[in-house]
C-alpha cells in the first residue's frame, strides 16, 4: 500500500461486527482515512460496506448489531463508545443508504433538522441552507413539499443536504449515487470534490459505482465478505486487472455491451 504521510483522520482497526448475537458480518476490517482525504470503500453486495460505515457512526446498536472487537479512532480519540449525536458534534456524520428522509417533514424542515447539533445559530443555519440550495437547486423548488412525496433522487439530495447542514468534517457517504440520474451523480461527486477541496471535508464513500468512485477518490479499499481484500491508491486500483474486470466491467478490449455479457461466466473471487 502507498504510505500516507498525513495523520490518519479516521482510523479503524480490526473491527468485528456481529448482528443479532450470531451473524458475524465484519471479520476484522482495518482502514484509514487521512485528513482531507476521499477514500472509497468498494465491494459487492453484502460485503459489509454499510456495516463498516455504521460501525463508525455508531448506528449499529439500533439494528441490534455490535462491534465486538477492534477500535475506532477519530482525530486520535477513541470514538466507538460515543453516541451518534456526540459524533456528529465532533464532525463525523453518516448519510445512510436508502435515503431515510423524514417523510412527514417538508424538505426544508428536513434540512433544518440536519442543523440540530448546531444549536441556535440562525444566521449560520440560513447560510448553510443557502449553500445546500446552491448545490441542489431542485431542493429549493421542492422545499415546501413533504419529503415523503418527493422522488427518489430528490430524497437522496435531501439526505445529503441534510448532512451538510451539520457542517461535518468527515462524511460517511453510503451509496450516494444509487438511483440518481447520471448528471446528478456527476454533480454530487463534484460537490464532494468541492467540499473536500474548499473546506477540507474528509469522505469515506461506500460506492457501487466503482468507475465514478475511483475517479474522485484518492484511495480505495475493496471489501469482500467482511474482509479487506485489496487496498491502494485509486489510480492503482483502477489499473488492476481484476478490479477492471469485476468492478469496472472492462475486459481486455474495453467495455463490453451489457447485451453480450454471458452470465454463466464464473467469477473469480479473492476470497471465500
Amino acid at each position: 500500500m502507498s504510505t500516507d504521510a498525513a495523520v490518519p483522520y479516521l482510523e479503524i482497526n480490526n473491527v468485528e461486527v456481529i448482528y443479532d448475537h450470531v451473524i458475524l458480518v465484519l471479520k476484522g476490517v482495518s482502514l484509514k482515512v487521512p485528513r482531507g482525504g476521499i477514500v472509497a470503500l468498494l465491494g459487492a453486495n453484502g460485503a459489509g460496506k454499510s456495516t463498516t460505515l455504521k460501525s463508525i457512526s455508531n448506528l449499529l446498536r439500533a439494528e441490534r448489531g455490535e462491534v465486538t472487537k477492534g477500535s475506532i479512532h477519530f482525530k486520535g480519540d477513541r470514538v466507538d463508545r460515543m453516541t451518534p449525536s456526540d459524533l456528529v458534534k465532533r464532525g463525523v456524520i453518516q448519510v445512510m443508504e436508502g435515503r431515510h428522509c423524514f417523510a412527514h417533514l417538508s424538505v426544508e424542515e428536513n434540512l433544518l433538522a440536519g442543523a440540530y447539533t448546531r444549536g441556535h445559530a440562525r444566521a449560520e443555519i440560513r447560510a448553510g441552507l443557502e449553500k445546500v440550495y446552491h448545490y441542489f437547486p431542485r431542493l429549493k423548488q421542492r422545499r415546501g413539499s413533504q419529503a415523503g412525496y418527493t422522488s427518489g433522487g430528490e430524497q437522496q439530495m435531501c439526505a445529503i443536504g441534510r448532512a451538510l447542514m451539520a457542517r461535518p468534517e468527515m462524511i460517511l457517504l453510503d451509496e450516494p449515487s444509487m438511483g440518481l440520474a447520471p448528471q446528478i451523480v456527476e454533480e454530487i461527486f463534484e460537490i464532494v470534490k468541492d467540499l473536500n477541496r474548499s473546506e477540507g471535508v474528509g469522505f469515506l464513500l461506500a460506492e457501487q459505482n466503482t468507475l465514478v468512485a475511483l475517479r474522485y477518490a484518492d484511495f480505495g479499499y475493496i471489501l469482500e465478505n467482511g474482509r479487506v481484500v485489496m487496498e491502494g491508491a485509486a489510480a492503482e486500483l483502477a489499473a488492476n486487472e481484476d478490479v477492471k474486470e469485476f468492478y469496472l466491467g472492462l475486459s481486455g478490449e474495453g467495455r463490453k455491451s451489457f447485451r453480450d455479457v454471458k452470465h454463466y461466466r464464473r467469477r473469480k473471487r479473492w476470497l471465500s
Binding site: I18, D20, H21, V22
Partner: protein, 355 residues
C-alpha cells in the same frame, strides 16, 4: 454438536416442506407431545391440570388466534376477548336451544359465530391501519360486551347475566374430571394449532404476511388485500371464539360477559408479543409466560420477603416485577420468546463455535 442438520438431505420438496424439516426437532416435538398427552394426565394433580394447564392451553389458543391476525396479517386488534365472549355465548346458546346438539359441533358453531362477528368488525381494516385500527377494534370490544349484557336472551335471561355451561358429553362420554377436560382441551388446541400451522405455511398464510409486510406491494402482485385481511379476521376470531367456548366449558364452567373485558384482550396481546409475534410456538410460550409469571411471583415474593413487607406492598411488588420483566424480556429480545428459542437453536447448531 448434537444439534445439526448436516447429513440430513431432503430428497423431495415434500420433505423440505414439512413442519419440522430437521430430525432432532421432529423427535423433540414428538417427545413433547407424548409428554403432554400421556404423561401429564397421568401424573399431574388437579391443581396443575385445572388451574394451570387448562388455562394455559386455552389462552394459547386465543393467542394463536390473535397471532394469526396481528402476527401474520399485521392487523393489531384489542378486541380478542370480545370474540372469545361471542364464542362462549354462542356455543352456550347452541347447546341450550338446539336439542341434542353435540358439543364439538357447538364448539365449531360458536367459533363460526365469532368469525362472522370478526369479519364484520374487520371490514374497516381495509382503510384503517396500525394503531388507528387497534383503537377501532375497541369498538368491537365494548360493543359486544355491552350487547351481551344488555340483551338477556344471550344469557338465557339469567338475572346476573352469568351463564353456567352444560355438561360436556361427547359420544356418551362425560368430560367431568380435570384430566379428561385437560385432554379434551389439549386435543382441540393441538388440532387447531396444526391447522393454523398449515394455513400459515401455505399460500393463505403468505398472503397474510404479504399484506402485513407491505400491502401496496401485495396488491400489486395480485393479492386482494380485503380478502386477505378479512380471512385473517375470520380465522382469528374463529380461534378466539373456540377458545372462549373452551374457557366457558372446560375451564370456568360459568362465565359472564364482563369476564371477557378489555383486560383479557390486553392479556392476550401480551402473550403474543412476549411469546413472539408471527410465531405459533410463540403463542404457547407467551400464554404460559403470562399465566405462570404472576402465579410464580405470588408464590415467591411473599416467601422471599416474608415478614418484611406488608401484604399490600408485596402485591404491588408483584405488579412491579411483572411489568419490569415484560420490559426486560422485550429489551433482551424484542421478537419474543420464540425468537429467543430460535437464536438458542442457532447457537446450538454452531456450538461449540460461537459463530
Amino acid at each position: 454438536m448434537l444439534y445439526r442438520e448436516a447429513g440430513q438431505f431432503k430428497a423431495s420438496y415434500q420433505a423440505d416442506q414439512q413442519i419440522f424439516p430437521i430430525r432432532q426437532d421432529r423427535v423433540g416435538f414428538s417427545l413433547v407431545l407424548a409428554f403432554f398427552f400421556l404423561l401429564v394426565p397421568a401424573v399431574a394433580n388437579q391443581y396443575w391440570l385445572q388451574a394451570i394447564l387448562i388455562p394455559v392451553l386455552i389462552f394459547s389458543l386465543a393467542a394463536l388466534g390473535l397471532n394469526i391476525l396481528t402476527g401474520y396479517a399485521g392487523q393489531l386488534s384489542l378486541g380478542s376477548a370480545a370474540f372469545m365472549a361471542v364464542g362462549a355465548f354462542a356455543a352456550y346458546n347452541f347447546m341450550l336451544r338446539v336439542p341434542g346438539m353435540p358439543f364439538l359441533l357447538a364448539l365449531v358453531l360458536g367459533g363460526l359465530c365469532a368469525a362472522a362477528v370478526g369479519v364484520a368488525f374487520g371490514l374497516p381494516s381495509l382503510r384503517i391501519k396500525g394503531f388507528y385500527l387497534a383503537v377501532a377494534t375497541l369498538a368491537a370490544q365494548f360493543f359486544i360486551i355491552w350487547a351481551l349484557t344488555k340483551f338477556p336472551w344471550f344469557s338465557n335471561h339469567s338475572a346476573s347475566g352469568v351463564i353456567s355451561t352444560q355438561a360436556v358429553v361427547i359420544l356418551g362420554y362425560a368430560f367431568d374430571t380435570p384430566a379428561s377436560k385437560y385432554l379434551l382441551t389439549l386435543s382441540v388446541v393441538a388440532l387447531l394449532a396444526l391447522l393454523a400451522k398449515n394455513m400459515v405455511r401455505s399460500s393463505t398464510g403468505r398472503a397474510w404476511m404479504a399484506v402485513r409486510d407491505m400491502d401496496v406491494a401485495a396488491e400489486v402482485i395480485g393479492i386482494r388485500p380485503l380478502h386477505a385481511k378479512l380471512s385473517a379476521f375470520a380465522v382469528s376470531s374463529f380461534y378466539c371464539g373456540v377458545a372462549g367456548a373452551l374457557y366457558a366449558y372446560t375451564y370456568l364452567g360459568t362465565v359472564e360477559p364482563e369476564g371477557f373485558n378489555l383486560d383479557l384482550s390486553f392479556k392476550i396481546l401480551f402473550m403474543i408479543i412476549i411469546g413472539g409475534v408471527g410465531s405459533i410456538l410463540g403463542a404457547f410460550l407467551g400464554a404460559a409466560f403470562i399465566v405462570l409469571l404472576p402465579i410464580f411471583l405470588d408464590n415467591i415474593i411473599p416467601q422471599l420477603f416474608g415478614g418484611l413487607l406488608s401484604s399490600s406492598f408485596s402485591s404491588n411488588l408483584q405488579l412491579i416485577v411483572f411489568g419490569g420483566l415484560i420490559i426486560f424480556f422485550l429489551i433482551v429480545e424484542p421478537h419474543g420468546l420464540a425468537r429467543l428459542w430460535q437464536i438458542g437453536k442457532e447457537k446450538l447448531r454452531l456450538w461449540p463455535f460461537p459463530h
